[in-house]
Structure formats: structure tokens, C-alpha cells
């Protein structure tokens, strides 16, 4: 028993010694190049700006330059993806949470519709950048249209102030469907 342990220990030490240079070699081959904060900022600010944002980065801000509005809309329309089964209305209660969620931590860094739109009449802390959405479900808009506008607002109003929430993946298709339900469902406080 003892012998086996001894042999095992020697073999173990041998293995460690043998592996060390190999491990060092691997480390040397893969130098960890941590980008500086400024390099990260430049990548995020310049490189990751997509070509559609470039068309909008002009003094007018709300009108694309260097491309026709029709062409712009068509390309944006082509990016829209629907949730599995094509169901554009989900759970309005989940949608209500996403609609008001302003948190910046963790995974809930999204939604925040109240920053620009009014919705539930009980909530008066709402912005006036976008149109008020109070009673939205009664306006007779097709829920599919609502879904598409949230997924990629630039397919309808190029360079609009409203972010392309689905396009960037800020909201998943299912989550957009939940918000659509919150806007359209008759039980939702928006329509009461």
C-alpha cells in the first residue's frame, strides 16, 4: 500500500515538473493583452457605430443623409424577427414590469419606456419625448405594427429618437411581445 502511494507521489511530482515548462510555454504563446479603457471606448464609440447610425450622425439628426429614406426603411424592415410561433402578444403583466424598468444593474438594463412615453395614467413621472401611450389599445393599431415599431423603430421613422430595441438585442422578441400585450390588452392599466 505504502509502496503504491510512494510511486504515485513520485509520478505526481514528475508530472508536475514535466508539465511546468509546457504550461509556461502556453502562457507565453497567449499573452493576455488587456485593452486600455480608452481603446475600449474608441471601439465602442467609433468601430461599433453601425452604418445606419452613421447615416444619422449629421446636424439634422432626424434625417438620414447619403441614403434614400425608402432604402433605409426597407433595410431596417428586413432586420425584424418575430418570436417563435409569430405570437406578437405575450403576457401584459411581464410587459408592465419591462415598461417601467429603469434599472441599470444586472440584466434589467432595458425597457424604461416611461423615460419618453406616458402609459399607465397612475404614473405621472413620465417623459414627453415620445407620444403619450395612454389608451393605446383603443386606437385600433394592429399589434403586429406595434411589435415591429418597438423591434426596429427606424423601419418606420429613420433616425428617430427611439432606439431600435430589438435590433440591438436590448429586448428579446418575447419581451417585446410582452410589452405589446401591455399596450394592447384590455385588462392592462394603459387601456383603463
Amino acid at each position: 500500500m505504502k509502496k503504491i502511494a510512494l510511486v504515485g507521489a513520485i509520478a505526481g511530482i514528475g508530472l508536475i515538473v514535466a508539465c511546468q515548462p509546457a504550461a509556461q510555454k502556453a502562457e507565453a504563446q497567449k499573452p493576455k493583452k488587456e485593452l486600455s479603457k480608452y481603446e475600449k471606448f474608441k471601439i465602442a464609440f467609433y468601430q461599433n457605430q453601425d452604418k445606419w447610425q452613421k447615416y444619422c450622425s449629421n446636424e439634422a439628426q432626424l434625417v438620414p443623409q447619403g441614403i434614400s429614406v425608402e432604402e433605409f426603411k426597407k433595410a431596417m424592415l428586413a432586420t425584424i424577427k418575430f418570436p417563435p410561433g409569430g405570437k406578437v402578444m405575450g403576457d401584459w403583466k411581464k410587459g408592465e414590469k419591462l415598461f417601467g424598468d429603469p434599472k441599470k444593474g444586472g440584466k434589467s438594463r432595458r425597457g424604461n419606456c416611461y423615460a419618453c412615453h406616458c402609459g399607465d395614467p397612475q404614473i405621472i413621472a413620465c417623459g414627453n419625448i415620445g407620444p403619450s401611450l395612454r389608451g393605446y389599445g383603443k386606437k385600433g393599431v394592429d399589434p403586429k405594427q406595434t411589435y415591429m415599431r418597438i423591434y426596429n423603430s427606424w423601419a418606420f421613422v429613420p433616425c428617430s429618437a427611439m432606439p431600435r430595441l430589438g435590433y440591438w438585442g436590448v429586448l428579446k422578441p418575447e419581451e417585446i411581445a410582452d410589452i405589446v400585450a401591455f399596450l394592447h390588452s384590455p385588462e392592462s392599466p394603459i387601456n383603463k
Partner: protein, 273 residues
């Protein structure tokens, strides 16, 4: 308790109705309003602290700011009105934060590579000294000139950054502060610093967060709203919340805004939400 809730609701509703043009002073919390009535301004603490550093903070070679710039900043009167501008000795366009840092490393002997010093400068010395030096120009008109080729280059960059839409929120400076200025994000009114010459009250004490901020802090923090990221927007490790301090993009935007504020009378420290 009930009274307080009622009051809070009242303020809330009032804010929603008055909304857009709510002047910062009307939103002041009670304790600050009382302080102001007594003639005290929380920002003045920083001016005093800065004055103390100015005269007493000795660098490794024994000099202080006052050694070169005179007792009570006599040679710095009006300097802030012309910043950001090109400085020959550092061959850069610098704002007040970078100018003071350069002075400390170049003339009073702090080591620019000493990380401990840099951290101390950013957290402790920068804001009081900037506020003090800025306050020496109180009552004077902002007068930023775009003459040197590097100033022209920075001004063009500032203008470009101002209109650049980027990040997962498609933001640009101009989107909120030119196009949507006057509207509200929730209850926060959006100012128009280019049209309204509102650079004159920076550095400002922000009572919402109880902090003194220079324009550099203000501009860098604005980038948090952009949702900038390196690879994937939903990976927290890829988030780029702010550009680092003293980068040219930030100074360029400061130059662009301050040039637009030419003629505004400097009143430092300001008081803002």
C-alpha cells in the same frame, strides 16, 4: 409621515406640470434653500478647499501653485474664461482638469507615472483646485478662441462627437441637448448648453447627488446613457460606461460647448440638480 408623502406627491405633480422649464433653484431641497438664504453655498466649501491646496500643497520639489501663479491666484484671474485652449508647454488643448494635472507633474514635481498620485489627483485635488481656479474668473465673460490649428482640430472633433449617434440607445449629445432640448426624460428637463450659454455655472454643485462636478465629470457621465459596449451589449464585461478622464473626445466636446457659450458671464460654483 403622511404630511411628507403628501408634500412629496405635491412636488412630484408640480414637477410634472411645470416640467420643462423648472428652474433648478425651485427644486432645491429645504436644507439647501435655508443655507442659501444664510448666504452659504455648498460649492464654496470646495472653493475654500481648493484655495488651501493652492497655497499649501507642496510638490516633491517644494513648490506650490502659488509659487508661480501668485498669492491668491493673482495671475490666474481670467484664465478659466479662455479654457479649454492650446498650451504650448504641453503641446495639447487642455481643459481645466488636465491643465492643473499638467502643472502638478511638470512644474511642482509630481511623477506623472505614479499611479497613487494620479488617483489622489482625480479623487482629491482635481475638483477643489478646478473650482477654485474657475472661481477666480467670476464675473468675467467666457472668451474661448479657436485660433491655433490644434484648437481648430479639437473644435471640429467636438462638433463631430456632438452629432455622433452611437451605442445601443442610438444616442448622441445633440439628440438630447439640441433636438429634444426643452423636453423631459421622465421629470428631468433637458437643457440646451449650445444655445443657452449655460457653461457659465460649471464646475457646479449637484444637489441631487450631493457632489461637486467639473464639466469633465458631466460630459463623461453623459456617456453612461449611450449603452456603449465593445463586443456584445448584454455582457456586463463588455460595457463601456464612460470614456477615461482627459481623453481628447471629452475635451473636444467641452471646447465645442464652451465656445458656444462665449459671452456668458462666469458664476462659479453653480448649483444644479
Amino acid at each position: 409621515m403622511k404630511k411628507r408623502t403628501f408634500l412629496a406627491l405635491g412636488v412630484f405633480a408640480g414637477g410634472a406640470v411645470l416640467g420643462t422649464l423648472a428652474v433648478a433653484k425651485e427644486q432645491l431641497p429645504e436644507h439647501l434653500r435655508e443655507l442659501l438664504e444664510l448666504g452659504m453655498h455648498p460649492g464654496h466649501v470646495f472653493v475654500d478647499e481648493g484655495r488651501d491646496y493652492y497655497h499649501n500643497l507642496k510638490g516633491p520639489n517644494g513648490k506650490t501653485c502659488a509659487t508661480c501663479h501668485g498669492q491668491d491666484g493673482s495671475k490666474l484671474v481670467g484664465a478659466y474664461a479662455k479654457m479649454p485652449r492650446y498650451y504650448k508647454d504641453i503641446d495639447k488643448v487642455a481643459d481645466i482638469d488636465l491643465r492643473i494635472l499638467s502643472c502638478m507633474t511638470k512644474y511642482i514635481g509630481f511623477d506623472p507615472k505614479d499611479k497613487k498620485f494620479k488617483k489622489k489627483y482625480l479623487k482629491t485635488y482635481r475638483i477643489p483646485l478646478s473650482t477654485y481656479v474657475a472661481s477666480l474668473s467670476n464675473g468675467m465673460k467666457i472668451n474661448v478662441k479657436i485660433e491655433h490649428p490644434k484648437e481648430k482640430e479639437m473644435y471640429e472633433l467636438g462638433k463631430k462627437v456632438w452629432f455622433t449617434r452611437a451605442g445601443a440607445r442610438e444616442f448622441s449629445c445633440a439628440m438630447c441637448h439640441t433636438v429634444l432640448a426643452g423636453k423631459r426624460i421622465r421629470l428631468q428637463g433637458l437643457p440646451n448648453p449650445v444655445r443657452d450659454k449655460s457653461y457659465n455655472h460649471w464646475p457646479a454643485y449637484r444637489f441631487g447627488s450631493d457632489r461637486m462636478w467639473t464639466m469633465e465629470d458631466r460630459v463623461r457621465s453623459c456617456f453612461k446613457a449611450y449603452f456603449l459596449f465593445t463586443k456584445r451589449w448584454d455582457e456586463k464585461k463588455d460595457w463601456v460606461k464612460k470614456p477615461p478622464p482627459f481623453v481628447k473626445e471629452v475635451i473636444a466636446v467641452e471646447l465645442y460647448m464652451k465656445h458656444a457659450s462665449n459671452g456668458g458671464v462666469i458664476e462659479v460654483p453653480g448649483l444644479l440638480r
